[in-house]
């Protein structure tokens, strides 16, 4: 068997498993008919769309099998940070004391999905939204810009997330 063929089979299998997990979560039933129907449907969809779900050069094992324990910790941290950030935005809006600014820094994460999750987390959490993600350059609008220095801004905005994300997805 050619190695390309084997890699394609692995891609199809990975896509099928991910889609099937989504199906089971959504239908929330363990009736055998539903499960079988989900398996058929997810393999059909996987056959059609495996070239986009798993890119040809996206071969690192870690980017498909995240470390679940860190992921759970990360999600909890994210939701907690979201509430804290909302209270801070609330306070700033009520007081009317905002000092918006635009900062730029570079991220150190390597994989696509980790960068996207980082962007999402930055947009969700502490008074910041990502304006542009160009490869590893991030331009961030900050509601309470305490600095415009690139490295210091990275320390304040992105470092707590990156430390965990590096363990989850590389």
């Amino acid at each position: 068997m050619q190695s390309v063929t084997r890699w394609n089979l692995v891609r199809i299998a990975v896509t099928t498993v991910y889609l099937w997990v989504g199906w089971v979560l959504f239908t929330w039933s363990v009736a055998p008919r539903t499960l079988a129907l989900g398996l058929i449907h997810s393999s059909v969809v996987a056959l059609l769309t495996y070239p986009v779900f798993v890119e040809h050069d996206e071969a690192a094992r870690r980017s498909h099998v995240p470390r679940l324990q860190f992921l759970a910790v990360y999600l909890l941290l994210l939701v907690f940070q979201m509430y804290v950030a909302s209270f801070r935005v609330l306070w700033q809006i009520v007081r009317g004391r905002i000092n918006p600014g635009v900062v730029h820094f570079r991220t150190r994460l390597r994989s696509d999905i980790a960068r996207v999750v980082l962007t999402n987390s930055i947009t969700l959490t502490p008074g910041t939204i990502t304006l542009l993600l160009d490869d590893d350059h991030l331009i961030v609008h900050w509601l309470d810009a305490r600095t415009t220095h690139s490295r210091y801004a990275w320390t304040l905005v992105a470092q707590p997330f990156e430390r965990l994300l590096k363990r989850i997805w590389v």
Binding site: F26, W28, S86, V89, H141
Partner: protein, 110 residues
């Protein structure tokens, strides 16, 4: 369970009010997007969590969880897309004047 649901609904109401207020009174697109993406997302997410707590262990739980997950992924991305649109259209961010900023910083240091 019911108490927790009511608490989450209350949080949702508070953040909804603040998000609307922010979107109405803040000065420019980016700051309004801040209010929208942070406060409003938190508000709707709280409502979804409250719904999940209300139904308990039920076929609806999985569907609401999927909706919450989907919302959690797409809402920041929609905000990012709008912000990128504004940034690429060269809408200049609003800033405080230099004197006001210095005053603000001195106030911070106190």
């Amino acid at each position: 369970m019911t108490i927790a649901a009511i608490v989450f609904l209350g949080l949702g109401v508070v953040f909804g009010v603040i998000g609307n207020l922010g979107v109405l009174i803040l000065p420019d697109v980016y700051t309004r997007l801040q209010a929208s993406s942070t406060a409003s997302t938190t508000s709707v997410f709280s409502a979804l969590v409250a719904a999940m707590l209300t139904v308990g262990w039920h076929p609806m739980t999985g569907k609401i969880a999927v909706i919450a997950l989907f919302f959690f992924v797409t809402s920041p991305i929609a905000a990012h897309i709008i912000a990128r649109y504004a940034w690429q259209r060269e809408i200049v961010p609003w800033r405080r004047s230099f004197a006001e900023r210095r005053q603000l910083r001195e106030h911070h240091d106190d």
